[in-house]
């Protein structure tokens, strides 16, 4: 049974059809990359899966269980967590609080107003762990808003994985990072996604090819190929539609 399964998913905005019948199946535990030209609909697809948008037609399943049209938080509680292409954090909260907020629900504290948040050892430990992994521990007291762009991208990932979700969607996590940072981020992502299912959008081919177990290519709202990296690299269609001469 596949972890995330899309069948015949379409999405229109007004007249313009953006997603045109996507069938996609992400296997449990694999690292799955999604590539495709700008405006192909990758982020939109993420928005559909994560419940930010409702599909016009088609069904989306998580572990075989239908999640089409659920609210984002309901989907998140079913174990799917996503990051955003445009950094999306809690700017006025400290770095620490940012991650802690991501941890709280999954630890079962929900809307509690009878626990003292600072005496929740488990929460603090997990938060600290995450911060160490994205190595922002020394910046934890700073309001997230004043971090540099690269740091904010790292925090974005931290918030995404904070809840310990087993399905993780990352939308261009390394965008705007330098080589070095990108490589560090990839290492981090590899570590964090151990034993989880990862679906990642990237334009940086080096990242894609050294991270992904399988790759799907989305072009104008259709998946034109979905296969092992090697096959994708060699596929003509993909060459023309996407990689161009650069790769």
């Amino acid at each position: 049974m596949s972890a995330i399964e899309l069948s015949g998913v379409t999405k229109n905005f007004g007249r313009t059809e953006i997603i045109r019948g996507v069938d996609l199946s992400v296997r449990v535990g694999e690292r799955h990359a999604m590539i495709g030209p700008n405006g192909a609909g990758k982020s939109t697809l993420f928005n559909l899966i994560s419940g930010r948008l409702r599909p016009t037609a088609g069904a989306i399943r998580l572990r075989g269980e239908e999640i089409t049209g659920l609210r984002p938080y309901e989907i998140n509680r079913r174990g799917l967590s996503r990051s955003f292409q445009v950094t999306n954090i809690f700017p006025r909260l400290s770095v620490w609080e940012n991650v802690r907020c991501a941890v709280l629900w999954s630890m079962g504290y929900k809307y509690s107003f009878w626990h003292n948040i600072d005496s929740l050892a488990d929460v603090s430990e997990r938060t600290e762990l995450i911060l160490r992994q994205i190595n922002l521990l020394d910046r934890r007291h700073f309001p997230a808003g004043v971090l540099t762009y690269a740091e904010q991208r790292a925090l974005e990932i931290g918030i995404t994985v904070g809840g310990g979700a087993e399905f993780i969607l990352l939308d261009e996590p390394t965008a705007g990072m330098s080589r070095a940072e990108a490589e560090h981020a990839v290492a981090l992502i590899r570590k964090l996604s151990e034993g989880r299912t990862l679906l990642i959008i990237e334009h940086d081919m080096s990242v894609v090819f050294n991270l992904a177990d399988r790759i799907s290519v989305l072009v104008y709202g259709k998946i034109i190929a979905s296969d092992e990296p090697a096959k994708i690299k060699s596929s003509r269609a993909v060459q023309e539609a996407y990689l161009g001469t650069a790769a």
Binding site: I89, C101, H115, I117, E128, H141
Partner: protein, 435 residues
């Protein structure tokens, strides 16, 4: 914002324990203060004033649960305060009528429940929206309730309202609650409990998620929370505390009327919270104390108190946008680094200059006021016990000199303040890195 982080990270460390100890100490001191305060004042009016302050502290804090914590700007918070008050009065009257064995001190709780109830009812519709939409809905609801208060006489008692008698309830250790002193202690204790409760609330998962929702509504949805529900909870809870405040007010005045739910009441609490500083828990407390004092006393000092009131607010938002507590907190690091004293001379200079200018300004205002509205009393007036004639040229000259002189004097002193501030901050930084 990051105290939570500090305490958590410092966890079991000695300094952590010290900090916690200090925090509790602070509460104990506060409690002691609350109970001994009346002893310091002789005039019985002090009790009235302190009681009012206690009430508005609760109210302002409950308001800040919305504005400061959850980022919801409400123009109708008095609704929950007022309805709490009305329910309490009705309750008291029924209790008296049927002589039920329920003592007065429990009544605020009734108000709280009422506030909670209406918080849930109105919250369920209004918290669906945020930002300006929410603000405008709250404004609409406020107006609706306020107007209904004049229409639905059987419940609201028209514009003269409904009266009650607090002494007629079951007595415990024969406290009649007739004298203001006893009412003060009732309010003080409730105030203390509520402040404690609301403070605790800010350090719970819900409290933290309120901040998160305030900062980034959408992202909260993607970490598993239903932000609308978070807002709703915050709203209902703040309704609860507002209701308690309203109940206490009803007990204090023994009368409730439409003005309890009115826009004026809602506006005042917004002012109090903001002036005190919505960014800090202590802010609304300070604001409530200040604004209550101004409202009650300013009209004795000058007839044009509204002018000063207005000028104060304009000044505050322009020069202290983070409120009084914001100003104080700026100095916290210096205080910890024990370098605050370095600022004192510069501050005194600036203060002197500022006072000169302000004196000039208020002299101008008072003279203009006298000239315009007191023609019948003749030209003689007195300012700070100095009698003079507004028709003579000298006082105007003096005022002008004070204003302009004060202004330039201030301009001169300001660089010193900044300089002192920076050196102190540098010192504080070193101290910080050393520690």
């Amino acid at each position: 914002m990051s105290e939570g982080a500090q305490t958590a990270s410092m966890g079991r460390s000695a300094s952590g324990i010290l900090a916690t100890a200090l925090r509790y100490a602070a509460w104990v001191v506060l409690a002691a203060l609350v109970l001994t305060l009346p002893k310091m004042f002789t005039s019985s009016f002090a009790f009235t004033l302190l009681s009012l302050m206690g009430i508005s502290i609760i109210f302002a804090l409950s308001y800040n649960m919305l504005l400061g914590q959850t980022g919801m700007l409400s123009f109708g918070h008095a609704v929950y305060y007022g309805l709490g008050g009305f329910i309490v009065v009705h309750a008291m009257n029924t209790i008296t009528k049927n002589s039920l064995p329920i003592p007065l001190p429990l009544m605020p709780l009734v108000g709280g429940v009422a506030g909670l109830f209406f918080g849930i009812v109105f919250g369920s519709v209004s918290t669906r929206r945020g930002g300006t939409a929410f603000a405008m809905i709250s404004l609409g609801l406020g107006e609706l309730v306020a107007s209904s208060a004049l229409i639905l006489r059987s419940f609201f008692g028209g514009e003269e309202g409904i009266t009650t008698n607090r002494t007629k309830l079951l007595r415990i250790f024969d406290w009649s609650f007739g004298p203001q002193t006893q009412v003060y202690y009732l309010i003080a204790i409730w105030c203390f409990i509520c402040v404690l409760a609301m403070y605790a609330l800010t350090r719970t998962p819900l409290g933290r998620m309120c901040n998160a929702v305030r900062d980034n509504f959408e992202r909260a949805e993607f970490v598993g929370y239903n932000p609308q529900f978070v807002r709703f909870l915050a709203f209902s809870l703040s309704g609860f505390f507002a209701g308690i405040a309203g109940g206490l007010a009803a007990i204090n005045f023994e009368i409730v009327n439409s003005s309890y739910v009115g826009a004026e009441q809602s506006g005042t609490v917004l002012l109090a919270a903001y002036i005190g500083g919505v960014g800090f828990f202590s802010g609304p407390i300070i604001g409530a104390i200040l604004v209550t004092w101004l409202q009650v006393m300013l009209s004795d000092i000058t007839e044009v108190w509204q002018l000063y009131f207005g000028l104060l607010f304009v000044g505050m938002v322009m020069f202290a946008p983070f409120g009084i507590s914001g100003l104080l907190m700026m100095h916290a690091p210096l205080w910890h680094a024990r370098v605050l004293w370095r600022l004192v001379p510069a501050y005194l200079l600036a203060l002197a200059a500022g006072l000169v200018m302000l004196t000039g300004v208020s002299l101008l205002i008072e003279m203009a006021h006298h000239l315009s509205t007191k023609t019948s009393e003749g030209p003689m007036m007195s300012f700070m016990h100095v009698p003079f004639s507004v028709h003579s040229f000298l006082p105007w000259l003096v005022a002008a000199v004070l204003v302009i002189g004060g202004y330039f004097f201030f301009r001169l002193t300001w660089p010193h303040v900044e300089g002192a501030w920076h050196t102190a901050l540098m010192k504080a930084r070193e101290h910080g890195s050393a520690a």
